[in-house]
């Protein structure tokens, strides 16, 4: 069976280049918007979920879904840390666990607005649990029991008075910034200080959560079930990865809905443009189609040829769209983590989870735009097509 040479379609796209260009830009822009929103979602979601560890457990108050709403008394936290056999111990036999306080503190931003900065009070072992994930890049760690804080790199760029030697007042207590840190994950938008000093300065008691390094092969599911129903010191236990993934659900849902909505609506317009472009291409080539049919090409080869041409338009649009979205990769932005209402800094990330749906979407637009025109072309009668020209 004869297939219309692909070159025919390539040349056709070139001959009507202004119309091709506009269609490609239309599809490309649609794809770029979809890719941009997905890149935002990816940047946010991966910041949280990729860096979460499976060997670190998070203990929250039963019923709470984020550390912002969780809380333990000091005794409760101590009991959890000391009497949970799944928690690993250091050389000195101390459980590798730490109580952490988490407060979203109102601070001014460099650009004048106000933001909620996550301030974390930690105990000494927090650093041991994080290990390599946490790095001081400038200055030093705060000394336990003092009014010193260290500030995450991303945060230091966004708020004033966060350089080393500066003083930040939390409630009534001035804290001196002694270091900047970097870390995998969302911590780099935070400010850390000594747990006891923070609870006192911020007038809180107890801590928000307990984190702990687990022994190898610890059964987290069993631990979760046991502590959930514990009479003395109940807790909700998750691995850090589970916890961080859950944190992104609300914003991810908003972004995916928004991206989906924009993509859908713009996609319809892009399909319309595609159909118009194909229809005019076909009507300009009526006589050629007549010739093709009369020299023996079957209607289905005509159909396939024109559909291919439209898919090619879609593919070009997809490539253009991805190229348009590509400069977004690495662009830093900030948004609110709606689970804790604190600000998180992160970067757009163009990953395969962005590019693959974007290109598939473009191809679908091409197919939808080409079906009807291609079918019309294949239904032409050779004699009429030749006469109409």
């Amino acid at each position: 069976m004869a297939v219309v040479p692909f070159e025919y379609n390539l040349r056709s796209l070139f001959v009507r280049r202004s119309s091709t260009l506009l269609t490609v830009i239309g599809i490309g822009a649609t794809v770029a918007v979809l890719a941009g929103v997905l890149a935002l979602q990816q940047g946010f979601a991966r910041l949280f979920s990729e860096t979460g560890r499976d060997d670190v457990a998070i203990f929250l108050r039963p019923g709470s879904s984020s550390e912002g709403e969780s809380g333990f008394t000091r005794e409760h936290a101590e009991t959890l840390m000391k009497s949970t056999p799944e928690i690993a111990r250091d050389e000195a036999g101390q459980p590798l666990a730490s109580g952490e306080l988490y407060v979203a503190v109102r601070l001014r931003k460099n650009d004048g607005g106000e933001t909620n900065v996550p301030v974390r009070g930690v105990q000494d072992l927090s650093f041991a649990i994080r290990g390599e994930q946490f790095r001081i890049v400038e200055g030093a760690r705060f000394k336990p029991g003092t009014d010193e804080v260290i500030v995450g790199k991303s945060l230091a760029m966004r708020i004033p008075h966060a350089q080393i030697g500066d003083v930040i007042v939390l409630n009534l207590t001035p804290f001196r910034v002694v270091g900047h840190f970097e870390s995998d994950g969302p911590f780099t938008s935070e400010m850390w200080g000594d747990l006891d000093r923070m609870t006192e300065a911020l007038q809180r008691d107890g801590c928000s959560r307990v984190i702990a390094k687990l022994v190898d092969g610890a059964d987290v599911a069993e631990l979760r079930e046991r502590l959930e129903n514990d009479k003395v010191s109940p807790a909700k236990v998750q691995t850090e990865r589970q916890y961080l993934t859950a944190q992104t659900i609300a914003l991810s849902a908003i972004l995916i809905t928004l991206g989906g909505f924009l993509g859908f609506v713009m996609g319809i317009a892009a399909v319309f443009t595609g159909i118009n472009s194909m229809l005019s291409a076909i009507s300009a080539r009526t006589s050629e189609i007549g010739v093709l049919l009369s020299i023996g090409f079957r209607p289905w080869s005509i159909f396939v040829a024109f559909l291919l041409e439209s898919v090619l338009l879609g593919l070009l649009g997809g490539v253009v769209g991805c190229l348009m979205a590509l400069p977004l990769n690495g662009v830093r932005t900030g948004t609110t983590n709606f689970q804790t209402f604190t600000e998180v800094a992160f970067a757009f990330r163009i990953t395969s989870d962005v590019l693959v749906p974007a290109v598939v979407f473009a191809l679908v637009l091409g197919v939808l735009g080409g079906l009807w025109p291609a079918w019309r072309a294949s239904r032409m009668r050779p004699t009429e097509a030749l006469r109409r020209a």
Binding site: V33, L40, R61, V103, R106, T335, E343
Partner: protein, 388 residues
């Protein structure tokens, strides 16, 4: 003016006309909807009352102020009514059913927020019954609640010691406009306080915010300073702001993403419009031969000009109609969805409709003027020869 001809021309390539009108409609709908979306973020600021000030902790929105502050703040000159707001943080059925519940001083709620109106139920019952609550009209719609219902909520911030659910009696349904949204529930702070004192839940006598209604003619700035001076040495420093300023921080919180989205959407709409323009110009070019014949038959240059321009306007107007129509038709559905996802205030204003109409007129003009001018300058002989 041969209107029949315009109609006939549009119908000759009906599919192309329909698709062009459709694309324009979508572009105009998007422009309108994205404007409304960006606009909705500021709704809480625009709706803020000039006579309300908000007292919160200087440290954090999540740090409570003691209830003992209430009496002292109420004594400050210029403070007319004072109301506590405390986040109750419970959920209905599953933790995915997110909505705000507020423990407030119910006797002054409608005094401080006159924009709240009772649309069903009984105010007396709300004031008399200890466990009574009011629910927003959208919330009532989502869960099918009506006055007289019992609403069980599982405490999160305030889990019950017995592990059970809190029981609220739905005394009424309110409707408000921003800054008070229609997806909240209000009940009496005393209900929470009594439960706490009876040991039914872990409770600390505090609240997230106090909102004060200031007296007419009061110096608001002075009132704000007087309040903050009360506690400048702690133990819990306060930060008092006019309501508009307090609400503005939530706008900045969402960050620049909506603006970014709107910019991208605007650019795409532009691309769609360009493509539609191209189609319209293409259609005009095909008309050369017809126009030549018409000129030969005695149609004037002016008629040819008007013919092309009106055709372009007809397409743009139809697109504009579809765009504005879609925006208005989807308004309540989109508003409801956004509001359920923490973004209340989506609204299509007359301003936005005017904007879309202006854009449609501009598109009609830009797409029509060049072909119309060409049509008026066309010589019959050349046109027929070129088009053959």
């Amino acid at each position: 003016m041969p209107f029949g001809l315009i109609w006939h021309n549009l119908r000759r390539h009906w599919l192309r006309s329909a698709l062009t009108i459709g694309s324009l409609g979508i572009a105009l709908f998007l422009i309108t909807a994205l404007r409304a979306l960006v606009n909705s973020l500021e709704a809480g600021v625009r709706g803020a009352a000039g006579n309300r000030i908000v007292v919160g902790s200087d440290v954090s929105l999540w740090v409570q102020l003691p209830t003992s502050y209430q009496a002292k703040i109420a004594q400050i000159e210029g403070v007319e009514k004072l109301i506590k707001w405390q986040w109750f943080g419970a959920y209905y059925q599953t933790s995915a059913d997110l909505f705000a519940q507020w423990a407030v001083d119910k006797d002054v709620l409608f005094d401080v927020y006159p924009e709240m109106k009772l649309v069903a139920g009984s105010m007396d019952e709300f004031l008399v019954r200890r466990d009574a609550c009011l629910v927003g009209i959208e919330l009532a719609k989502t869960y099918g609640w009506k006055p007289g219902d019992t609403i069980p909520l599982l405490g999160n911030t305030y889990p019950r010691a017995d592990g059970g659910a809190w029981q609220f009696y739905c005394a009424g349904v309110y409707e408000a406009r921003l800054p008070v949204d229609n997806r909240s529930m209000f009940f009496d702070y005393a209900y929470l306080e009594q439960a706490g004192e009876a040991g039914e839940t872990m409770y600390w006598p505090g609240c997230m915010l106090y909102v004060a209604r200031t007296a007419e003619g009061a110096d608001q700035e002075a009132v704000i300073q007087a309040i903050d001076r009360l506690y400048e040495n702690g133990p819990y420093k306060t930060k008092t702001q006019p309501e508009s300023e307090f609400n503005r921080q939530f706008v900045t919180m969402v960050g620049n993403i909506p603006a970014l989205m709107a910019a991208i959407g605007g650019a795409v709409s532009f691309a769609i419009v360009m493509a539609a323009l191209n189609t319209m110009l293409m259609a005009a070019r095909e008309r050369t031969r017809d126009l030549g014949i018409m000129k030969a038959l005695g149609f004037t240059d002016g008629t040819a000009f008007a013919l092309m321009l009106v055709e372009s306007f007809a397409i743009a107007a139809a697109g504009g109609l579809i765009g504005v129509g879609t925006a208005l038709a989807t308004e309540s559905a989109i508003a409801f969805q956004l509001s359920a996802n923490l973004f209340p205030g989506y609204e299509i204003t007359p301003d936005m409709i005017m904007g879309a109409v202006a854009a449609a007129i501009a598109i009609g003009l830009v797409a029509g003027i060049v072909p119309a001018w060409r049509a008026s300058r066309l010589r019959a002989v050349e046109a027929i020869r070129a088009g053959a």
